[in-house]
């Protein structure tokens, strides 16, 4: 048995344990009588779950919500990517901000800030409009499918953007130019050449958005539940956390179809991305794509960009800061400013559970991301460099968790941990997080490995270095950019993790997002905002710090 074979096997066991065991638990649990996993075989849970009279409505809502928000996210990112890559719109650094910042603003806070702005009873924006136009009723109601689609669409836009923008950047402009030479005008070229060539990338982005929307829990719980609009994620949550008839088996039975659809979609997604890569023909000459002069459309489009920046980043943060300082909801006014105080902040700092959740989240973020990245380095190396059938299995396994809807897989993990001593501890969360978010670490690292030419590594071997020495001296230093971005992705995901945590967190292992959700359901908006700001500050400074360290190490 040679060494690379052994490494691959060990990794398959680890990753397989992380990703397959919760799924297996879920399957067993859904067919088992009673509350445990290994009870008698029964189909009762499925019958109960799928004959539920509410399910029809839930599925309707889910379909509208998922397709609506994926469409919003994809179209928006297509528009932004085109604007960035192909036009002379000013201030292009804004695109970078728009594409990465939403990672630092947790989904749950983003959702909450929109509730604070647009809820029908005392949403700030609604109050302002009422006062301005003397309206009787609120103009907007965020607690609606439309509101959910808007917020989720904005949240998923960066995911779609990160797929579409690189495809557009590596697009061979000669393809368009040759269409122009053949007599097609700009519009004909866009419709007949540009968009069709980008089609796999656009569809891939759309597919991934669908998977993310199905797994989304923040928007459905913060915006959907108060409006009594249930989608599959919240329907499952209700089954396992509300009322007396908690039924994990029934939740698992519904979760199985969500998981199955997600897995199928992820397979489609991977097919589409490989298709899209086939289309990429980077021209041998470094011609910059011909930039389209926007002329009169320049300022309006720039205005749209600014508005997006405002909606995505500035407004949510401002609303949270404002809410954390005022005693109760009111329109920003001289009176409101005179009444500002730090009471909510004091209450949060005095609240032991908030402080505990803060500590837990920071620990999970830093420690979890570090372990996750170390594992990702080995997995990415095996996938990219040791190209055997075994490493192909590893790749598929590590991609599996990309399709995991947190709340569904959380149930699987719960069953798994319940028989072990780590149940209800922070370690259960740690393992669950790493398993669920492994692809976020593997992706940047495998693209880093692809960029490092094999010869660099081979020559180290030729000069007598052992594989581990080669890894330490040659590969890791060259991997620094991949490592930093993988670490940042994982750490920010862990810091704000909600959907897995709502299932796994128990008294003592609370995390920030769960605590925020609790504040939200109790309507404690002030404390929520204060804790939320702390969360944003922590994740932003972590990102800045790691970027700084990465830049230092690279020198």
């Amino acid at each position: 048995m040679n060494r690379s074979f052994r490494i691959t096997l060990i990794l398959i066991i680890i990753v397989g344990f992380l990703t397959v065991s919760p799924v297996v638990m879920l399957i067993f649990g859904s067919f088992s009588r009673g509350l445990s996993v290994f009870g008698d075989f029964t189909l009762d849970k499925y019958i109960a779950a799928y004959t539920d009279p509410d399910l029809r409505k839930v599925i309707n809502n889910t379909v509208i919500f998922v397709f609506g928000s994926s469409l919003v996210a994809t179209l928006l990112s297509l528009f932004l990517a085109y604007l960035n890559n192909r036009t002379d719109v000013p201030w292009k650094f804004l695109f970078r901000i728009i594409s990465i910042t939403p990672m630092m603003i947790p989904h749950i806070l983003f959702s909450v800030s929109w509730v604070l702005l647009l809820n029908p009873s005392n949403g700030i924006f609604n109050l302002i409009l009422k006062q301005l136009f003397g309206l009787e009723n609120s103009l907007f109601n965020i607690y609606s499918l439309g509101g959910m689609i808007l917020v989720e669409g904005l949240l998923d836009m960066p995911i779609a953007y990160l797929i579409i923008a690189p495809a557009m950047a590596s697009f061979d402009v000669n393809l368009e130019e040759s269409s122009r030479v053949c007599g097609a005008n700009t519009l004909q070229t866009l419709i007949r050449v540009t968009l069709p060539v980008l089609r796999p990338a656009i569809l891939a982005a759309f597919t991934l958005c669908i998977v993310r929307c199905m797994a989304s829990f923040a928007v459905p719980s913060v915006i959907g539940m108060p409006g009594r609009i249930y989608v599959l994620a919240t329907h499952i949550y209700q089954t396992i956390s509300v009322g007396f008839a908690i039924d994990y088996g029934k939740a698992a039975a519904i979760g199985m179809s969500v998981l199955l659809i997600s897995i199928i979609l992820i397979i489609i997604y991977r097919h589409l991305t490989s298709e899209s890569e086939k289309y990429v023909t980077i021209s041998s000459r470094g011609y910059r794509p011909a930039v389209i002069e926007l002329k009169r459309a320049k300022m309006p489009l720039f205005f749209v960009l600014g508005l997006l920046l405002l909606i995505l980043i500035v407004l949510p943060v401002l609303v949270l800061v404002y809410t954390s300082l005022i005693p109760y909801s009111m329109i920003p006014s001289a009176r409101a400013f005179s009444m500002m105080n730090l009471n909510h902040w004091r209450e949060v700092i005095k609240d032991p559970i908030s402080i505990l959740s803060l500590k837990n989240s920071v620990f999970l973020g830093i420690f979890g991301a570090t372990i996750g990245v170390v594992l990702s380095i080995f997995v990415a190396y095996t996938i990219v460099r040791i190209r055997t059938k075994m490493s192909g299995i590893l790749e598929s396994l590590s991609f599996l968790s990309f399709s995991f809807p947190g709340i569904v897989i959380g149930v699987g993990f719960m069953w798994f941990f319940v028989r072990t001593p780590i149940y209800a501890t922070i370690w259960a969360l740690l393992i669950g997080y790493i398993a669920t978010y492994l692809p976020y670490g593997i992706r940047p690292l495998s693209s880093a490995f692809i960029q490092i030419h094999k010869h660099l590594e081979e020559s180290s071997r030729v000069f007598g270095a052992k594989p581990l020495t080669t890894m330490r001296r040659i590969i890791v230093p060259l991997l620094i950019p991949g490592i930093t971005s993988g670490w940042i992705l994982m750490a920010t995901m862990f810091l704000r993790e909600l959907s897995l945590s709502v299932v796994l967190a128990r008294p003592g292992s609370e995390v920030m997002a769960v605590q925020i959700l609790r504040f939200a359901s109790d309507g404690l908006w002030g404390r929520l905002s204060a804790l939320g700001i702390i969360m944003i500050v922590i994740s932003t400074s972590l990102v800045a710090l790691v970027n700084f360290i990465g830049a230092k190490l690279k020198q």
Binding site: E177, G183, Y279
Partner: protein, 361 residues
């Protein structure tokens, strides 16, 4: 249809410096001929081509295709690319990956809303012309580089354009295929009697393909002429050096005769092609290695004779290439591959007056 370019300039700005990609260029690309723009990379040849097709906007000057002004900075004329009625073969071929071969080739006609049946006939004819019969249904990503190149050519030919532009179309093919395709392309183009502008940095390609060669360097046109003129009778040092290989030796004009010019240099006295340099002026004597002949019998004359010691000689198959030294000067030579000469031998060489070229320093 001829292309007239007058005083065309194009500048790029990078890092606060101005790069003159095209520096006041005037040239006429003759009708129904193959004209090559030849030069080292960065000389502006591709920029010129892209200005003609309209993918790049010049800063000043004018471009006329046939009788139609397509670009004029003074009159503010700028006909968009799609209305210039040209065809172009790109370096990367720019075969659309989402279409099959048929749709790639039919595209120019589809855009012009030709009837379907006519398109079908024309595509069939074009495919036959480039020897790709039966390739209609193949996916564009599923054919070899040479085949892609021919699809690109068929697409350029289908709409029977007035002018075809080529941007280094052979540079992505391997050596053997390149030679073959070059020959085919020459046949295609002379058969079609079409105006072609062809950009390349490969001098052999330029010599083999063109009726007219325009040699370019750092944004301007150095010299225009037929392949033979450019090769045998270049008037500029840059051209003599860039085309083929050349020994460049400093020389001084000694005497002007009716049809010959006589110069002296460190490697001897040479009777050269007539050039109107004043007696006593400094010039460059340019001798190509392939025209330096071994002279084994007794030396009778004292002119056009080079006596040198062989410094190295390498067998490259079709010939032996090497260097000889005459004092401090070194000359490249190319002699028959059967030669038994070896390093250290001192030998006499002869160069005929027709192959002694004088260019200004």
């Amino acid at each position: 249809m001829e292309i007239q370019i007058k005083e065309l300039s194009k500048y790029y700005y990078s890092d606060g410096r101005i790069i003159k990609a095209l520096d006041n260029i005037s040239i006429t690309i003759p009708s129904k001929r193959i004209c090559t723009l030849l030069g080292p990379s960065g000389c502006g040849k591709t920029t010129l081509l892209r200005c003609i097709v309209g993918l790049e906007k010049p800063d000043s000057g004018e471009i006329k295709i046939g009788d139609e002004m397509v670009w004029c900075s003074k009159k503010g004329i700028n006909i968009p690319t799609e209305k210039r009625g040209l065809a172009m073969v790109f370096q990367t071929y720019a075969i659309w990956p989402h279409m099959n071969v048929y749709n790639n080739i039919a595209y120019p006609l589809q855009i012009k809303n030709f009837p379907k049946e006519e398109i079908r006939k024309k595509v069939e004819k074009a495919l036959h012309f480039v020897k790709l019969d039966g390739f209609e249904k193949r996916a564009a990503t599923n054919i070899s580089g040479g085949q892609q190149q021919r699809v690109a050519l068929a697409r350029a030919l289908i709409a029977e354009p007035k002018v075809i532009l080529f941007d280094e179309p052979l540079s992505n093919l391997d050596a053997k295929l390149r030679e073959e395709t070059r020959r085919e392309l020459r046949n295609f183009l002379s058969e079609l009697k079409i105006t072609a502008a062809y950009v390349t940095h490969d001098q052999i390609e330029a010599l083999a393909l063109s009726d007219v060669i325009a040699v370019m360097n750092s944004g301007y046109i150095v010299e225009v002429g037929s392949p033979r003129q450019i090769y045998f009778n270049a008037t500029h040092k840059f051209v003599a050096d860039f085309i083929g290989r050349a020994n460049l030796v400093k020389a001084i004009v000694k005497l002007q005769q009716k049809d010959k010019t006589i110069v002296s240099s460190k490697i001897g006295t040479f009777v050269c092609q007539k050039r109107d340099f004043p007696v006593g002026s400094k010039v460059i004597l340019c001798i190509r290695p392939e025209f330096i002949y071994l002279k084994e019998d007794k030396v009778s004359k004292d002119k056009n004779i080079i006596t040198g010691k062989i410094e190295n000689l390498i067998f490259v198959g079709e010939a032996c290439e090497g260097e000889i030294s005459i004092g401090n000067e070194r000359l490249m030579i190319k002699i028959k591959s059967e030669s038994t000469l070896k390093k250290g031998d001192t030998v006499n060489f002869m160069v005929s007056a027709d192959h002694c070229l004088l260019v200004s320093d």
